[in-house]
Amino acid sequence: MLSLLMILLPLVGMLLIRMVSDKKSAARVALLLSFLPLAATIWHATMFDPNGGMQFVFDKWWVESMGISFKVGMDGLSLLMVLLTNVLVPIIIFSTFDRDIVDFKNFYSLIFLMQFALVGVFTSLDGFLFYIFWELALLPIWFICLLWGGADRIRITLKFFIYTLSGSLFMLVALIYLYLQTPLPHTFSLDSFYDLALTPSQQGWIFWGFFLAFAIKIPIFPLHTWQPDTYTNAPTQGTMLLSGIMLKMGLYGIIRWMVPVIPAGIAEWAWLAMGLSVVGIVYASAMAIAQKDFKRLIAYSSIAHVGLIAAGIFSMNMMGMQGAVFQMLSHGVNAVGLFFIADILIDRYGNREMKDMGGIAHVSSPFAITFTIILLGSVALPLTNGFVGEFMLLNGVFQYSGWLALFAGLTVIFGAVYMLRAYQRIMLGEAGEASKSFRALTSNEKILLYIIVALVIVNGVYPKPLLDIAGPSLSAILAKAGVVSM
């Protein structure tokens, strides 16, 4: 019952925000409303028992005759993903302070709808419900990109929508197949999927159904082509939602719906999935180095990071899983931070070309310091949150194959190259005309950056609480897949 309330709270926000007619107070009210789900999540976290398996389960028949139930619940993995969502959404709403949002009622409503869908994805334990939330998440983000996006949005959003939905339809077929394999009366419940005795060849087919959906969302090379354009053209908050939370849906989906249900399918195809991920890491890093546009550069670096996460998951060992979950959280925070920095730059310069910038460090030192720390988190310097996840991921991939780990490790070097070069171009050097008149950070912007910096450092120095929450549920998932963890 409690968890249902937590899921429904964003909808309350979505309805209430429509009653506010003043733009300035709307932003404040939206922020306030977004604290409700966060508070509920923290409350759940305090009651949470890491070794207690699936908790806060709410299970009610939805379409009883078809075996569809409204079943939600949280284990450590779900809790962390929900926490990520409900922490980032207030930050994302906070980032609209001091910005001029036209048609703001619809904008905040859509963000809340998005939050509802995301929390639903991370908590549903019924295949049908999962699919509904999964698709529902696409609608608000599409409208956010379509209505508030950049110049080329029409063509790009269409591609984005069709691309991601096509992938999902294959997952739908896979879900229907799984459903019809369950004993009579058929059911969509995840627990019943665990008990299926599927032959390896069946699992191979189902693997592709799920993999296409998740790989497009993540995105894994070569299914990533929608991503850079969409990230660049979406409004900043849309990009934050996409990179910070939405792509975690795909990674989460692999852990929750593929690993325990079709381990043999993964074992059969892991070489390909990991190969593609690693190719994606190298390719996206190389592309990032060549970018002149800062937002696009972050978009490509994002592909590289999630590629490593995917590779870690498909390595199917505890180290890789732990690293993946931790890196999902870190990447969420870092990506939102970096895109916020990009937003500040766009706000000040009016474009995204790095060559027009430079020398900002001389003008604004708070900006320089926070940017540096978030950037170091992104390139995985020890004591930042990025390091913990990346180290464990590489360790996990290494256990699967040393060669793959060698190439995957290039991401650390490349990451440093493109990030530091970008920093150099934007912040260092002679301050040009445009940079001399760089408007100082507003207090809201400063607060937001400090919050992100705090998250980067705290999680980097003391990652244990988060790892402890995820650990038992991950080993339970691996045990269902037949992998005995340490």
């Binding site: 939805w62 529902l136 019809l180």
Partner: protein, 480 residues
């Protein structure tokens, strides 16, 4: 004797009520006041109000005093299921009537419109209740011929007349096929009674031939490929409310009957018709979608998309299990709401501005935000995107189709959903895009169209999420 009479009235309640409405309208027409020069007084508004109220009462009456039983030597049946199906059609007709307000307000022949419309509905009711091939044929004809007149209801438009001509030719052709099939059936079986046919089926070549003729006749009416050639021209030529009626109510009624006939009467030839339906489903989905992609005229686009939707329905029908029948009925309800919402918006815009092209809708969101959201939600529902009910409908159709083990069909259907997504999104995209030079001006909706659209919107959202609707239909079929 009186008991029998009461039974008669109760069992034929929907038909008799409809007849009463028609006669009231007729009476109003006869007694209409005239001006001094002999032209009728313009009282369209009051006629429309009366008509809509009568239809509303008619719809509400459908929920009370439903009894089960047979009449006319068992050739007419009334069950909970037929009552439910008639209610659905009543609701659909009411919605069409609400939406045609804007268009009919200035029309010279409002009364005739309603009489023709309700006559076709009466035909559909008879068809749904029929337990005998001849009554079925009678109902079918009654539901088709007045429709041709309705298609021609934009009396000045040449295109409208051409469409009506095409429609009447095509339906005459398909009726001939059907009659030929029926007469051959009679030759092989000696009975045309639905309850006696199953025992008389022997799977001979001649019977297979008859079955093909029968399905072909159905195919014409639901515009399944390759019997679809009339559809696009007729939909484009007809006034928008008539197009809605054709694409939703008329098709829906035939699909109800088709499900009953194939599932109950010809269950013995399941293997044969399963193959035919599969082939029809694939051809219909693919052709409908491919042609829809290229259309620039919204009505034509929706015509082809409605062909594609029929393909999906056939996928569910191929399931040959209870889920098949249930999912088809369920989808038709959802389809009524979704398609009528989309066509309702188009109908209003078309009646007030005459604009029907996709490019005309650029910037529609800036001038008409509410209508834009309704149109978008309706199109999402047609495309089958959660959480709109369209997704639930399609999902259950696919599930029923997969239940028969034919995953190829399901995958083809899923691929077709992607294609259909493209052209539905094309419209949504245009609506939310920046304005062109002359955007559609802000439209003030009259009460009736507004109410119609609101009902559709609620239907789209609720039918899917409220699972009771699905369970209810399942119970109806289980009780048979």
């Amino acid at each position: 004797m009186t008991d029998q009479l009461i039974d008669f009235f109760l069992l034929m309640k929907s038909e008799l009520l409809l007849l009463a409405v028609i006669f009231i309208m007729l009476f109003m027409n006869i007694t209409a006041k005239e001006n001094a020069d002999g032209t009728p007084v313009d009282n369209n508004h009051s006629i429309l109000v009366t008509a809509n109220i009568l239809l509303l009462l008619n719809f509400l009456a459908g929920f009370f005093m439903n009894t089960s039983g047979n009449l006319f030597g068992d050739s007419f049946t009334s069950t909970e299921l037929t009552a439910f199906q008639k209610n659905i059609l009543n609701l659909g007709t009411l919605l069409v009537s609400l939406q045609s307000y804007t268009w009919l307000k200035t029309h010279k022949h409002v009364m005739e419109f309603y009489m023709l419309l309700l006559a076709t509905l009466l035909g559909m009711f008879l068809m749904i209740s029929s337990q005998h091939m001849l009554l079925f044929y009678l109902g079918l004809e009654l539901s088709t011929i007045p429709l041709a007149a309705l298609v021609n209801f934009d009396l000045e438009k040449k295109k409208s007349a051409e469409a009506a001509m095409k429609m009447i030719m095509m339906s005459a052709f398909s009726s001939a096929l059907l009659l030929f099939g029926i007469s051959l059936f009679y030759g092989t079986m000696g009975t045309l009674h639905f309850q006696e046919i199953p025992a008389a089926l022997n799977g001979s070549d001649l019977q297979l031939y008859c079955l093909i003729l029968l399905i072909a006749a159905f195919g014409f009416k639901i515009s399944a490929v390759p019997f679809h050639f009339w559809t696009a021209d007729v939909y484009e030529g007809a006034p928008v409310p008539v197009t809605s009626y054709l694409s939703v109510i008329s098709k829906g009624s035939i699909l109800f009957v088709m499900t009953t006939v194939l599932y109950n009467v010809f269950a013995g030839m399941g293997v044969e018709w399963y193959l035919i339906i599969c082939v029809l489903a694939v051809a219909t989905m693919i052709t409908g979608n491919i042609f829809a992609v290229r259309q620039q005229n919204l009505k034509r686009l929706l015509a082809f998309s409605s062909i594609a939707q029929v393909g999906f329905i056939l996928v569910g029908m191929s399931g040959q299990n209870t889920e098949g029948a249930v999912s088809v009925t369920y989808f038709i309800i959802i389809y009524i709401f979704s398609n009528l919402a989309a066509l309702g918006v188009i109908s209003v815009v078309s009646a007030l501005t005459g604009k029907e092209k996709i490019s005309d809708y650029k910037g529609f969101y800036k001038t008409n935000p509410m209508l834009s959201w309704i149109l978008a939600i309706a199109l999402f529902s047609l495309a089958g995107i959660p959480p709109t009910s369209g997704f639930f409908g399609k999902f259950f159709l696919l599930l029923a189709g997969a239940g028969n083990g034919n995953y190829t069909l399901v995958i083809i259907a899923a691929l077709n959903m992607i294609v259909s997504l493209y052209y539905y999104l094309k419209i949504v995209k245009a609506v939310f895009m920046d304005a062109n030079e002359e955007p559609i001006p802000t439209i003030n909706l009259a009460f009736f169209p507004k109410a119609g659209l609101l009902i559709c919107l609620i239907g789209i959202i609720v039918t899917g999420l409220a699972s009771g609707s699905y369970n209810y239909i399942q119970e109806l079929f289980a009780s048979l």
